[in-house]
Symmetry: D2
Subunit: 330 residues, 4 copies
């Protein structure tokens, strides 16, 4: 079988490297090029093969049928536009074109035609991804949290006007691999802290906009934390419900029936269950002893796989007409 | 100056060892004995001195002016009773005599005379501790969470009937040092998970009972997590308020003015700020964009110091008429 | 294509679990059964499938064409004998039948026919493995150290009568998953120590016997260390040479030409290079400023893959006439 | 009692911060100023007090009776000279004036009068430190390794012309807190590697020069490693002896009798035994089964305390006529 050439823009970050590694092991894709501005000229072993980083300006955009942009927010949109001009379809891992972000409005003519690439939101989303020229790949925190909330939102189970309290903790790879003192091993080991406190994290709007689109009328109180692990996100979400649920897991099982990358378990999901996999693992428990019926949902993903590169590849598989699971560690 | 002989029951666990180490470095206390049933006969270096563990039945209870019981819940009460019969005053680190726990009701005649040993709750609590023969030392999670909520509760700021969502994450020393497979390094490293989900953790009642005693009428949604660090607890608490606050830190500064072991900071508290110290570090931020005014409070302690052995020693200092801060790392 | 049924004895340890996971993903093998005495009846997710542990006495040994024994030393030999009686070929991961260990002498009639399963030792070893009914799978430390020394030994480069100083550090999974206090996260995190000091580690004889068999007349000073990581071994070996070498890497490249699981690099090997791979990564540097010409060789493997389960599967592939690399992460 | 004003140059690195924290808790010293070029103007909480970093050019050198220079190698000498001109005595934590380093020869008139600040080398060293205007504080690796070798060297026990193989592993704080990609948590966690391989580490000359000065005629093969821990060094040293020793620990006990910061134990020293203490912990074992009698010595220190700031303070105590142990955690 022929392979399909794809390119990676912004390949030297953790998500970009993970993408290159997944592409290297993918049975139908081949890596046409990988750009990395600062690290141009370097060769790095990823996914069992040597990848040579080139300067973005040297990238033969038109050689790729599909491009992944793992460029920083703001920068990405320029390159998405250039890639489209060169004829390539794009999965954009930045937030530039995600719901709740205004950046792309002017630049992309058919904004409405940029679906949010979370296939598990349902058949309509999947169809939109398949047909799209550009897909906005979800953020890592939104992936963990929205997959936990979507089944409740679409069923109208979330109490109107309530505040969903979503705490989440992420491994430090989520903060990127640019050298910063506060990310040094000797600073992070043994430590743990909240950040972006007060609903100030830039992922919040992506979540509230998507949740509203799913029919829920609720606030989100989102507090991310920095975990002393390399990979993984766990979200712990208290959801005020319109009514108590006898069997919350049944709702999740129904919502995600047949989904290849969703696991529903009565036991608590842990990072160890999902690391290096394109899988979200969910559990849900009705709380005892609260006046408002409240559901406690927990959700674990690998921030670099299902939260970034893996989901991007899942979207690319759909766009290219391939089996959605191809080349993805389940 | 003469030293005051004290004893430690259940000295081989993490809290017991921490207590022995703190006593060894305390300028006015001397360790009369330390019991450890399974590890009897062992000598362990703690706080720069060799401590010999003896069997509980060999402990000369009457030799100690004050006893610390770091025995397991259930077992502790029996020994507290024996210690009282031998004339020693007691700081009980177990939950047996804490608010919301029924265990001690029958056994201890003057139940009401067992104060909850959290001196920062105010002058009346401090006076009760000074006068008490037995003090119930708070649990680690309740220490982090109640110190964050008390200033709001006593001022009537918490919305009536609301659900306070308290997420907390603890280092694994909180789970004790009995060998269990799930606590092995190779299991915990790189992992993170919730436990006691659904308001099932045994510390919950201690928190709800104390909070009610402080005048708040609110539910608590409490979800603890296991962190891949040895020490420390961080609690992240979303508190629905009766009204929005312009300067939440000012309330905390007023509430804890003069407290030697409380730090209020606009920056987020981290485990690294409090590890090996008897200090709680707090921050509080009004949330943007929620319909119910909501305060996000974060609270960090060392679970073995302010959350156990340090607070026990703080209580003992008060009971013995010593400076409250003596021998405690601030 | 048909699958070949294989069994795993002692499947609940870290090596046994790794084996089950590798077999689950192997394109030609199927797991007929997995035994675990203490954990019988449990179902564990390994390699993307649920594995049910059965009691050893319930294992239908004859159903498997080949058996892996990951049983403890001493116990293993009994089951190897039983497996042979039932007609199955065996890869024994215990030390019972390795060079330098006397345990198996009496029990196995044709002792000499039990090759040491390190295919990279050369064509004769590989042929012996292919033909064998039983293969003794090397230990983790010996794998890292002997692959570093073999090219020197067979070329007569090691100084006669000298002492090779082999320091090695292993992740804690090497100590097994039986609950022990000294392996708890809170004990291991932030710590590092030597053990088996004074040439007392049970892997030493396997190394000295094999090295002598390769023609070297040298002592080994072997000091293992416990690393605060889950997986991986790094060996740092100072080898007194008969003569100085201009290009030591060239010797290794020649020795291991065409080997699918050996990487020779001028840069220092790190655990991160080899974890979750069946690869040994080697480097070698002549030392400056020593009177005896001395080569510093460094060698990294994943103790559970190339140091245990992966190498066992590599041997099984050879015994079963399959491609040696099948199902193995390179 | 009056306090003695001291200054710290280069206070923002890990060693400089540790020094500030130790000085803050020292009963007789007060911190006159702390310089940090890049972080000038910042306030940092160290040792329970707020320390304000000032620019080096603003430092009132003459206000300090004694200065600690924790400046980088090369830069330090300039400031040592300036401090001397201003009348202050100096403990230099850089390598500029250590044995085997030529940097200081020209600049410091009385080079021979700069003792190597390792008080445990004996009475003559201690006397020289007391009298010195400048002391060269030893490196972290040399401290761990030379304290292990000195008792053997001065007794003529090391085989002449032999190669001592010294492997050592250090926590990442040894690499400083300048932001570098290879020191990020996500790079270091779970990893382990050698560096400075081939006797290329800049600490080697300090060790060989000092060892020769103690009378040994031996080579050193020194290989440092980077450990995934924040603090601590463990050295594992194979020493070829002139003759076998019946009781090696007795030699160490005799050599270090009365030393307040040396512990000799038959059990293996671990980082956990020495972290946050100014203590070196040593063990020594004769090797079985080697033709050359070989002693395996293990040595553990905290690289930031006994390996840097603590030892510097120990030297300052001596220079200032104070109790050598004052303010130092034993």
């Amino acid at each position: 079988m022929n392979t399909i050439p794809v390119g990676v823009l912004g390949a030297s970050g953790y998500a970009g490297r993970e993408l290159c590694a997944l592409i290297a092991r993918h049975p139908r894709l081949s890596l046409a090029f990988a750009t990395a501005n600062e690290q141009r000229g370097q060769r790095v072993r990823l996914g069992g093969t040597d990848v040579a980083f080139i300067a973005p300006d040297d990238a033969p955009l038109g050689d790729a049928v599909l491009l992944f942009s793992a460029l920083p927010h703001g920068t990405s949109l320029t390159w998405v536009t250039a890639a489209r001009a060169a004829g390539a379809r794009v999965v954009d891992l930045s937030s530039d074109l995600r719901p709740g972000h205004g950046a792309g409005h002017g630049a992309i003519a058919s904004w409405a035609a940029v679906p949010y690439g979370m296939p598990e939101l349902g058949a309509r989303t999947r169809a939109a991804i398949r047909a799209a020229d550009i897909v906005a790949n979800p953020g890592c925190y939104p992936t963990a949290i929205l997959l936990a909330l979507a089944p409740l939102a679409v069923r109208g189970l979330i109490a109107r006007g309530a505040a969903i309290v979503a705490n989440a903790a992420s491994g430090v790879s989520g903060a990127g691999n640019s050298p910063k003192r506060e990310l040094l091993f000797a600073e992070v080991a043994g430590d743990y802290r909240a950040y972006g406190v007060g609903n100030t994290h830039r992922h919040l709007h992506e979540m509230t906009a998507t949740l509203a689109g799913l029919g829920a009328d609720a606030d989100i109180v989102f507090t991310p934390h920095l975990l002393p692990v390399a990979r993984g996100i766990l979200a712990t979400i208290a959801v005020p419900l319109a009514t108590s649920l006898d069997d919350p897991l049944a709702i999740y099982r129904e919502a995600f029936a047949g989904e290849p990358f969703v696991e529903i378990e009565p036991t608590q999901p842990a990072l160890a269950d999902v690391v290096r996999r394109n899988t979200v693992r969910l559990s849900a428990t009705m709380l005892a002893g609260t006046r408002t019926p409240t559901l406690l949902v927990t959700s674990a993903i690998d921030n670099l796989v299902k939260g970034a590169a893996g989901q991007a590849l899942q979207n690319a598989n759909l766009m290219l007409g391939l089996d959605e699971t191809l080349g993805l560690p389940a």
